[in-house]
Subunit: 418 residues, 2 copies
């Protein structure tokens, strides 16, 4: 249930600063832009602060799209079978049109990642697929950076209870809040300046990778011997992005990764996940897959295997890679030692890959058509799901087209000081 | 703030029954229909129950559209001037398309009616006008009964505090809850049977009025000497309606009125409001207007006059009538003696009229074009605002085309037993 502000078991001043970070650093909202904010009702204390900051910064209209996890659960508990193939296409089509009309977008993550863990996996998968299909026009506007957008997080009680099951609820919420504020740099005196410095570091790392123009990356470690070809004309991204309309934004608050687009046909070898993957309310552990010609040809998991196999069967592109990302094992989120059960955080604890849709702006030419992107090896799919393959036991080399090798990471850390 | 279920200061079993009434009597949801529910976050305890009932009754997808009054207020407190001409057209266009695609609709009233009472009336009026314009396609689907829809109410603390300012909050909420449950027949053992009986009574009254085919109604009483011409081919409605797709619904929970479409050019004389009108967060009292040729040519109010004058300046149709409704002064809501500051309730305490858009289904032929409706005297506008002109001091006569008079109401009560 929604908490009253007076009852927040953490420092409200840091929540104020998180709202500033979300609008000024994350969304980079420009005066006159409208803003669509999607959030669970549990995140209202942050959503309200964000609306105030957005209006103060000159927003036209802030439209909150508030969901409620109890209503989400009610569907699985009560609905007839036909319900699980339905999705609100009219809503997502409208959002896509708003993004094309200069509305910015912010999503607040707060939900219990295990919300649907005890529900019928077939129903969860079907509902997810219907949602993914309906969301395609809006997702393309977002992944193509037709507008400025961001995702940030709020420490809702259900999420905190999952992470800290042995603690009293208020203490668990306080601990999650502390981790979110630290990772989002809302614990700093001047969070905006801290983000500027962080973005400069990520930019230097991107420049080093772009300058080397690697043909592929090779990963080695326990259970992993994987070559990931990079897309032709790929470009490394990370931290600050710029929308097609020229607005700077930080799509993920927090973020520690640099990432680019792999070639959908040039991935081969075996890889073992180094952390669990929380997906649509299920926890998938011990993923091991083999790629041939870019495609997953063998897959297993020690837990949640059925969910993982359904995931990669969403469409042809769901078996291929859409993102490859590098994160040092010493990143602050990794150092926290916490498993957040949420990609926004967990992907910043380790190098990772994503199945599914690629990012159109991870190319040197960011105005290409879908066909031009596909011709350079960019993957397309209605899913985009990250999972962790990095750890202190993983080495990564950059390979040139002629076979030359450059150490990129050793024992999970950058091999080169910049 | 949202209340937890465990802390509800009233009988949760009656809230369960209200959810049953809302879906089975109000919306009349059919298996396979989607449902869009608009509500403030404060109404989550009812919204969650409604979602469960809707899914149990075979809903495809229940899409909650949850607003938050603190975010609404943040706009008035923080936003730049340009914000007040903005409205989320993409959202309402999408809703209109969903209604055309067999989505049913439910709105839960719960907000503090005085939420914006202390804000700049010019900003409130501009924002209201922008919203009304953007909402036009969706409103036409609703007023034209292209789908089945309903409005019901939830006893939120802010609304209860306004009605009972001298009571402790829990006691005020309990008192408002009791009034809502009673008026909505959720306090009965079998609310659905009670609604069936009530609808039969309203139907008999409609039939009597239809059989008399009055040319106009004449109102007399203190400050009132008003003739309201009825539209050609008008039909009386009230209680149960049937959508264009043949689905029975009760658009208002509660409802005590029978109503039809006046002729937009045949209203003349003076009329004095008998109750205050709560409009967009302002309370308008002591309205007195004079009609000529169907149009308001003089208007004043003892309180909130500026808001009322802005309201009737929204467009040309805002000065003309779109609805005339008859309610006995002894109706249960009138007998409660409460002022709810909300039309859904207060309009059921007295006979009333509405400025603005007429209902397309208040004609014998319910499939007419906008032009055909206009040719019969139906009014069009982007507003539809009810205000009360009935009391125990008002007599109403039905006039035939040749001047014959039939008593309809005497001292606020039906003149004829049926």
């Amino acid at each position: 249930m929604t908490q009253t502000d007076t009852a927040l078991p953490f420092d409200a001043a840091q929540l104020d600063r998180l709202a500033e970070v979300a609008i000024r650093v994350g969304v980079g909202l420009r005066p006159g832009q409208d803003l669509i904010v999607t959030a669970d009702a549990a995140a209202l204390p942050l959503l309200r602060r964000i609306a105030k900051v957005a209006y103060r910064e000159g927003a036209g209209l802030v439209t909150p799209m508030i969901s409620d996890s109890a209503i989400t659960r009610a569907r699985y508990e009560m609905a007839a079978d036909h319900s699980f193939d339905r999705a609100p296409g009219w809503l997502y089509d409208g959002m896509a049109s708003a993004y094309g009309d200069n509305s910015a977008r912010l999503h607040i993550v707060s939900d219990d990642p295990m919300l649907l863990a005890d529900q019928d996996t077939d129903k969860v998968a079907r509902a997810g697929k219907a949602l993914n299909q309906a969301y395609t026009p809006a997702r393309k506007m977002i992944t193509g950076f037709q507008t400025n957008w961001s995702i940030c997080a709020y420490p809702a009680p259900s999420w905190a209870r999952l992470m800290f099951p042995d603690m009293a609820e208020d203490a668990a919420v306080a601990k999650l809040a502390e981790a979110i504020f630290a990772a989002s740099r809302a614990d700093r005196e001047d969070p905006v300046a801290a983000w500027n410095a962080h973005n400069a570091e990520l930019l230097a790392r991107r420049k080093w990778l772009d300058d080397h123009r690697f043909h592929s990356l090779h990963y080695s470690g326990p259970g992993t011997d994987l070559t990931i070809g990079l897309a032709d004309d790929h470009r490394w991204k990370g931290g600050k992005s710029t929308s097609k309309k020229g607005v700077d934004c930080n799509p993920n608050i927090p973020t520690e990764e640099v990432f680019t687009t792999p070639h959908r046909e040039r991935v081969s070898g075996i890889v073992r996940a180094t952390k669990p993957l929380a997906h649509q309310g299920s926890l998938i552990e011990g993923i091991e897959v083999r790629f041939e010609g870019g495609r997953i040809v063998e897959a297993k998991a020690s837990k949640g295997e059925e969910v993982f196999l359904k995931l990669i069967d969403n469409d042809e592109g769901a078996r291929r890679l859409g993102e490859v990302a590098l994160v040092p094992a010493s990143s602050p989120i990794s150092a926290s030692g916490l498993l957040f059960y949420n990609t926004l955080f967990d992907e910043n604890a380790a190098s990772h890959i994503a199945l599914g849709q690629c990012y159109a702006d991870c190319f040197t030419d960011t105005k290409m058509s879908d066909e031009e992107i596909a011709a350079r090896g960019g993957n397309s799919s209605m899913i985009h799901v990250d999972w962790m393959i990095g750890s202190t036991e993983i080495d990564i080399d950059g390979l040139d087209a002629d076979g030359g090798r450059t150490p990129v990471m050793r024992g999970g850390e950058w091999a080169q000081a910049l």
